[in-house]
Amino acid sequence: MKDLSTKDIIKPLKTEKKIKVKPFSKAGLVIRLTLIALAGLTIYGFITFDYKNITFFEALAGSLTNFRVMFTEAHFNHFTFSEALYQVLITLCLALLTTIIGAIISLFLGLFAAQNLSSPLLSNSIKNVIAIIRAVPTVLWVLIFAVSAGLGSVAAVIGMTFHSVGYLVKAYSEAFEELDHGVIEALQAGGANWWQIVWQAVIPSTLTYLVSWTFLRFEINFAAAIAMGAAAGAGGIGFDLFMASNFYLDLREAGVITFFILAVAILLEIIAVRLKKYLKTAQ
């Protein structure tokens, strides 16, 4: 009798069809299709991009040298440390004004856009208008306002406010909609009017969300204010960066300004994290 080794026993099992562990799912298919589509578009993009005769590796090496010069030899040429600090303050103030004006407008619009606090018609029409406002990039809003208001802080603040409102109304109304329906019903049963419900129940119980969304928007607005300084002449540190890089072609000064922007942005992020922690423990 032939010896049966373990190999012979296991072998036939191996040739059998693999057992399908994952059942077919629509989600899996869509994930795969999305990834394939993105990969295809990326490759197609790289083939068709307008490279304008740039030698890739030369430019990349050039960039690396530039980065090294910018960040290791950064120093001031056209203004002093305190002046740069003041310019950063201007940018922060532009962002702050935009955020405060935007938050006040968004609070009211957000209340009327929340489905549980307003009529379906009003809620849907506000949400649709807001979606269109949000789809226009901030810089285009600012430039559109700059035609009638002139380039400067007014056009920048009003233009950035539009996009902020588009963003905050969505965030606020979604926070309001998550409120437990029982709370509103209980207050209605007690005879409270609409404003009393809003001030005594809706806003206090969603305050944590509102504050953290607003601060997040402040961070975004700071970045937007830099960009508007560069692209729409709104003043502040962004304008200085634009002058240093596009006008004086001064890498070292651009490096110093970048350090300033980076420091403020990281500071804001640390404050945001602290604020979120504080709000979480306060509740």
Binding site: N66, L96, N246
Partner: protein
């Protein structure tokens, strides 16, 4: 006692309002913001918009050119977000608490993410303009860096949240590091990761307009060109096309999110 409570509450609220008003007033002074002009400029801009900011026949003759640039901009946004996502995923694996190899790589990953995320896309594009000039690559790299920074943070948090239990289960069975990643981390976090990637593409298309204005490429350049030559009719058509592209993309990614999440 009760009186005191309400009194204190009212006092706190008034203090907060006074504080916000004071900060606002300070900001108005420093930014040299003209409040009255701010209010009057909105109706003025509206009237101007109705009179001038609509596409006319001449603008529609430029439509092929606009569409061409719009497609290029969308492709740059997709390519930068997708390639950044691959790199960000590797960094997120190294940075996440559940999957990190050691503390050194984790802090490196977080440092990179913070650095790249906090330098705004406008700043990146102005820096890159030095060596890449007015080519599509300037915009691509500017968007790539910001996408990489943002996605690394988002991916790290997602992996932290989603895959803790499944990673622990696979580790207990003695699975290797690589197979833990491919069989636990990827399947459990894939829908969330794709959702973030789609969000990034939406954000990139908005930023791409700004980058285009600063670096002279894509749809932003075209807008700037028409805007500066006072051809507001054509500029308005650019805005309309951008809005349509963004809304269509939002609708598509919301559909994908509904199916996969």
């Amino acid at each position: 006692m009760l009186d005191n409570f309400f009194l204190r509450k009212r006092l706190k609220l008034s203090l907060l309002i006074v504080l916000i008003l004071a900060i606002t007033y300070g900001a108005i002074l420093i930014a040299e913001y003209d409040i009255i002009k701010g209010f009057t400029s909105i109706p003025e801009a509206f009237v101007w918009g109705v009179q001038n900011f609509y596409p006319d026949a001449n603008a529609f003759s430029r439509l092929p050119n606009i569409l061409n640039k719009l497609i290029e901009t969308v492709l740059i946004s997709v390519a930068s977000a997708s390639t950044a996502a691959i790199l960000a995923f590797l960094f997120a694996i190294l940075g996440s608490h559940t999957t990190r190899i050691n503390g050194f790589f984790a802090s490196i990953s977080r440092l990179f993410a913070t650095l790249f995320r906090n330098i705004d896309v406008a700043v990146w594009s102005m820096i890159l303009l030095f060596s890449f000039g007015q080519s599509a690559l300037t915009g691509y790299f500017a968007l790539f860096f910001v996408s990489f920074g943002f996605l690394t943070r988002a991916f790290t948090e997602t992996i932290d949240e989603v895959s803790n239990d499944s990673v622990e289960a696979l580790r207990a069975t003695g699975a290797s590091y690589i197979s833990t990643i491919t069989n636990a981390v990827v399947p459990s976090s894939a829908p969330q990761l794709i959702s973030w990637l789609l969000f990034m593409i939406e954000t990139n298309i908005r930023s791409a307009t700004l980058v285009g204005i600063l670096t002279g490429t894509g749809i932003g350049f075209l807008f700037d060109l028409y805007y500066k030559s006072l051809d507001y009719h054509s500029a308005s058509l650019v805005v309309i096309m951008v809005v349509i592209a963004i809304l269509a993309l939002e609708a598509l990614s919301n559909f994908i999110r509904r199916v996969i999440l």
